[in-house]
Structure formats: structure tokens, C-alpha cells
């Protein structure tokens, strides 16, 4: 993993990412469904330009690769299966509700943090950016603090 990150920096000058592709998808969808709203919005309009489609982004291609790479690894070790993974102590319904709440929170947080565990924390730490260390400490620190309240979901 470290060598891949190093090669990525050596080729592209920047690190890996993940949440940026989800943001591009949201921007592209809103721009398609409600173009006027997207142009007027102070947030979406940052990521829209006339000569470049919002999905024509490095991170979007990288995430397409992530999906393919994970699928390949899963196929090679016989892990391809539709299922809801959860602790035997909770129902799959409860797991899905918390997966949705968690995704929602992470989506909001990743915008405030200008990136997620990959882009802000991992890549930021590799380039020794102050922001990378702040992201790592605040994400993991907060998860440790909140872990007590959600322990029934996991252990």
C-alpha cells in the first residue's frame, strides 16, 4: 500500500482519494437534473466548468479502478456474494439503518474536511501536510470516543 501511494505521488504529484468521486457524481447529477440550480449554487458551481464534464475527474477514473480491483480480488478469493454483513447480535435491518446513517454522516463530514480517510488523512500524512495529521487524529479520535455508544452493533 505504501509503495502504491509512493508511485502515485511520483507519477501524478498527488495522492489517492475516494470521497471526491462521490462528490463529482452528485455535482454531475444535479447539473443534469437542475442545471440552473447547480449554476446558482455557490458550492456546485465551484466544480462545474464549460469545457470539462464534472465526471471527467482523476478521482472518478481512480474509483472505477477501485471497483474493478476489489471485484478482481474478491473473485480470486471466492468472496463475491450478495449479503448484509452484520454481527450475529443484531438484525440485518438494524445494520442497514446504521450503514445509511454512517454514510450520511461521512458524506457531510468529508466535505467539511475537504477529503476523507484516503484523500485527507492517508495522502495528507504521506505528503506531511498538517491537514493530514489533523484529519487522521480527528477521524480516529472521534470514532474511538463514539465507539462506546455503538458497541452493541459490533461486539
Amino acid at each position: 500500500m505504501g509503495l502504491l501511494l509512493l508511485v502515485t505521488f511520483y507519477i501524478t504529484g498527488r495522492g489517492l482519494g475516494a470521497s471526491g468521486a462521490a462528490k463529482s457524481t452528485v455535482v454531475a447529477t444535479i447539473n443534469k437534473v437542475a442545471p440552473e440550480h447547480a449554476q446558482e449554487s455557490t458550492y456546485y458551481s465551484k466544480f462545474i466548468s464549460d469545457d470539462n464534464h464534472p465526471l471527467n475527474q482523476w478521482l472518478v477514473f481512480e474509483v472505477i479502478g477501485i471497483l474493478a480491483g476489489a471485484l478482481l480480488s474478491g473473485a480470486l478469493s471466492n468472496r463475491l456474494k450478495f449479503k448484509v454483513e452484520h454481527s450475529p447480535k443484531i438484525t440485518s435491518g438494524r445494520r442497514l439503518v446504521f450503514a445509511a446513517l454512517g454514510g450520511l454522516a461521512f458524506g457531510i463530514g468529508s466535505q467539511f474536511g475537504r477529503g476523507c480517510t484516503s484523500g485527507a488523512a492517508l495522502s495528507g500524512m504521506a505528503s506531511l501536510a498538517l491537514g493530514g495529521f489533523i484529519a487522521m487524529l480527528s477521524i480516529f479520535g472521534s470514532a474511538y470516543v463514539f465507539a462506546y455508544f455503538f458497541r452493541k452493533n459490533w461486539i
Partner: protein, 196 residues
């Protein structure tokens, strides 16, 4: 001399090709390390599986050491390496919300894509909900625009902020990592095993 694409040694039209190739390698490594499982990821917060911490920490340190080796050997123009900007308040609040999302959902964005790719329905739900979260943020952006842009420190490095040399910082970081690996291995032995 690198970085290759920003310096024009490889033409920028290759950028997206490398994006897909790098993505494939990233996805493969994450999935084969077991990170498509939310129960394995959550292990780091309950002490029964510290793989995430080890992979994450050692990857960041390997890349950081490699980059500075390349720099000392003259193989890379370190000023062309992207140092992400720091907005203090927004970064901390964002991190806290992400931590809450992590412990509720069991995934972070990159690992949820891996889970989704191999058919984990909870990971698919997580990924879709994440986009809903980004949508909510975007719609309500005017309310916290000022906060989002406050506390800007620019593209600063951690060793400049601490006022120490990069070499000293690197040594401190390696020592912290080694201590963390040792302590977590002791904790993992004491905590009750969780089967998943």
C-alpha cells in the same frame, strides 16, 4: 525526475489511464487486506483487530519516507508534491463527523466501494447514503460557508508548524508507529476474539 505528469515527462493525456491503473491496484490491495468487511474495520475501535491501523500507518510512513528519499537523491521536485491546505476549524469538525460516520457505518468511502464491489449490501447502502450526505452539505452550504473557509493556514506541512526539521519529525513518527504497533499487539492478545 518526478513527479512525472506535473513536470510534463509523461503527457497529461495519460492522467486518466494512470488513474484507472492506480485505482485497480488500490482496490485490489484494500479488498485483499480484508477491508471490504465492516466488521474487520470496526475491530480497530474495539481492540479485536488492528490491521487497519497497521496498514494505514505503515503506508503513510512508507510513502513519506520514500518521497523524501527521492528528494534527497534528486529524483523528485518536492515543491511539486501536493500538500493539501489546512482549514483548522472545518478540518476538525469534519473529522469528528467522519469519525461518527465511521463507527456507525463501519466503512469509510474507499472501503465502502470495495465492499460494494464484492456484493455487500450494507456497503452499497453506505455509498448511496454518502452521496446523500454530500448533497445535503451542498444544499445547505450557504449556512456554513464562512465556517468552511475560516482558519485557513495555507498549504502548510506538519514539521514547519511544529518548528522542527523534516528528518527529526520523520524519526518521531517512526518511533510513534513502532510503539503503537507493539502496544496494539498486546491489546489484541487480551481482547476477546470476534469471529467474522
Amino acid at each position: 525526475m518526478g513527479p512525472l505528469i506535473p513536470l510534463g515527462i509523461i503527457d497529461s493525456s495519460w492522467n486518466n489511464v494512470f488513474a484507472i491503473l492506480i485505482g485497480i491496484a488500490f482496490g485490489f490491495i484494500l479488498e485483499s487486506s480484508g477491508f471490504s468487511s465492516s466488521r474487520k474495520l470496526a475491530g480497530v475501535f474495539y481492540g479485536y483487530d488492528f490491521t487497519v491501523l497497521k496498514v494505514f500507518f505503515s503506508a503513510a510512513i512508507t510513502a513519506a519516507i520514500g518521497l523524501y528519499y527521492f528528494y534527497f537523491l534528486g529524483w523528485i521536485d518536492i515543491t511539486m508534491i501536493y500538500v493539501n491546505p489546512t482549514y483548522l476549524g472545518s478540518a476538525i469538525v469534519g473529522g469528528i463527523i467522519m469519525g461518527l460516520g465511521f463507527i456507525m457505518g463501519g466503512y469509510c468511502p474507499g472501503t465502502s466501494y470495495c465492499g460494494a464491489a464484492i456484493g455487500k449490501i450494507d456497503a452499497i447502502v453506505y455509498s448511496v447514503a454518502m452521496m446523500a450526505g454530500i448533497f445535503l452539505f451542498s444544499e445547505f452550504y450557504p449556512f456554513f460557508e464562512d465556517f468552511y473557509n475560516s482558519g485557513s493556514l495555507g498549504n502548510v506541512t506538519v514539521y514547519d508548524t511544529l518548528g522542527i526539521s523534516v528528518s527529526l519529525f520523520m524519526i518521531i513518527l517512526i518511533v510513534i508507529a513502532l510503539v503503537a504497533f507493539y502496544v496494539t499487539s498486546l491489546i489484541q492478545k487480551k481482547v476477546k476474539k470476534v469471529e467474522y
